[in-house]
């Protein structure tokens, strides 16, 4: 009889545990330090895998400065970041795209913090032999109207397209600002930056698109577009059109630890050393700005 009771208890506990695991999300609150008190608590950040290295590096330094704070940075994709911050299971959701651009996200309930800018450009296999392309030709290449590099003054080599999946933020940015909204023709599709880079390097005639940070080595050749070189300076002064913000979203106004962390991300320290080190462009250095509709204006 006694055993039966004990068993009942174990069963109940087990069932509760199973259900909790099934239904539960991370819902821990962060007790942020206000009024200059020492910060403590835990902060969960998720989202954009493109931002993950930057945010993780910043989080590490933030934790060094505030030993009793625990910051967890998970990747998972921009969609995951936006969904999770909107439903409150993480305090900060990172995204490569504006929340307004994603289906099913209550963008008006989220506050946008643009922590960095990332420039992107088309990159080709070095053997292709071109370094500059006009926007018109770029669109023709990606929509499959031009299929051989010799038509553009390069090698006699079939063009191989390397795309991102439909839902990718990099693809959305590239389609919007490099292809003027034209739908790319079918080709190899990969999500991870490093895989895309590897494919471009190893496949004759390949063209894809990547963030500047992945185009630093002597592997893939980044293309100038209409004679404008893909450099941080050209993005900052608005000459080079293919770039996107790296957003950190909070639900409502940022407060507590989330606010402290975002303030830290925007601080001179991070903006001027960590951000460029990781291959991004500091948001503070931008001379132009862009809204969710893509309209550009001077700051």
């Amino acid at each position: 009889m006694k055993n039966l009771k004990k068993l009942g208890l174990i069963l109940t506990v087990a069932m509760v545990a199973v259900f909790a695991a099934a239904c539960g999300g991370a819902k821990d609150g962060a007790s942020g330090g206000k009024d200059g008190k020492e910060l403590s608590g835990s902060l969960v950040i998720s989202g954009s895998s493109a931002m993950q290295p930057l945010v993780a590096a910043a989080a590490e330094e933030f934790m060094n400065d505030n030993p009793s704070v625990d910051v967890q940075v998970n990747a998972g994709g921009s969609g995951t970041g936006l969904s999770q911050v909107a439903e409150g299971s993480v305090q900060i959701g990172n995204s490569d795209v504006f929340a307004e651009e994603k289906d099913g996200i209550p963008a008006d309930k989220l506050e946008d913090h643009k922590v960095a800018v990332v420039g992107m450009t088309a990159a080709v296999n070095p053997k292709v032999g071109i370094k500059n392309i006009s926007k018109e030709d770029l669109i023709k290449v990606f929509t499959g109207k031009i299929t051989n590099w010799k038509d553009l003054g390069g090698k006699d080599q079939k063009i191989v397209l390397v795309n991102r999946p439909d839902s990718s933020g990099t693809r959305a940015t590239f389609v919007k600002y490099a292809l003027d909204g034209a739908t790319p023709a079918e080709g190899i599709t990969e999500d991870a930056n490093n895989t895309v880079l590897k494919i471009i390097n190893e496949t004759d005639g390949a063209i894809g698109y990547l963030a500047f940070s992945y185009l630093k080595g002597d592997q893939a050749t980044p293309l100038s577009i209409d004679g404008v070189e893909p450099t941080d300076e050209n993005v900052q002064n608005g000459k080079f059109p293919i770039w996107a913000y790296e957003h950190s979203y909070t639900k409502g106004k940022a407060d507590g630890l989330a606010k402290a962390f975002i303030d830290y991300m925007m601080s001179k320290d991070v903006q001027e050393s960590l951000v460029p080190d990781q291959g991004y462009i500091p948001a503070s250095k931008m001379k132009v700005e862009r809204d969710a509709e893509g309209k550009m204006s001077n700051k």
Partner: protein, 287 residues
Amino acid sequence: MNGEFRGRMLVTLCAVIMIAATIAITIFLGTKGLQAFFKNGVNPIEFLTSSDWNPLKENPEYGALTFIVGSFAVTVLSAIIAAPLGIGAAIFMTEIAPSWGRKILQPIVELLVGIPSVVYGFIGLTVLVPFVRSHIGGLGFGLLSGTIVLSVMILPTVTTIATDAMATLPKNLREGSLALGATRWQTIKKVLIPAALPSLLTAIVLGMARAFGEALAVQMVIGNSRDLPTSILDTAATLTTIITLNMGNTTYGSVENNTLWSMGLILLIMSFGFILLIRYLASRRKL
């Protein structure tokens, strides 16, 4: 008595939790997977029969046929490669060289299980894709590369189960056949393989179930394009690769996200199908 009772309850509890988990997953995937049709109004017939997948268009199209075809193509093709190899290895280990053959081959096969799928994918991307491109043709990315990677991955499943099936055949089958004057090869071909056939088929089907669900390694080598493949060298996509490529970038509750869950539901239904097939094959076993 006390210990008996406790032990019995402990294992019952384990079973109950497992059953509960499976049912929970089924219910969850069922409701999530049907939302695209009931809530978002995606036409299920179009979803299953159209090969136009353009979720970002003004009038989005959600046809998953390309991915369903891709999944079946790599699964069947890799079974065609892995089945003869796995069953051949099993016969070698049990009938031809039971002593040293098993000692060498078994650890080698078991080693293949331990390699994570991302490593298979990486080897495929680094070695196989360039090889196919320069020696066979096409881009290197495509059905053929996906098939080769998958067949290596399912080989251990097929081999292990086939070996067990052959090893558990009663001795008197062999002895009887040999006593009648049959050679060893005749015995294997005419007696042992037919006798073990249902189990051998089970081995193949289990391998196929694994191939159908594999995502990461295939994703790295298959090319993931949304066009229906017309040759084995063409790029293709499977249900799993489309799910893994898009799941993180789409938001919960959006139509595109829901259609990804629907693809997950198809995978679950297929997995049930494979299990039913295995049960059917097992029930036909005569020995």
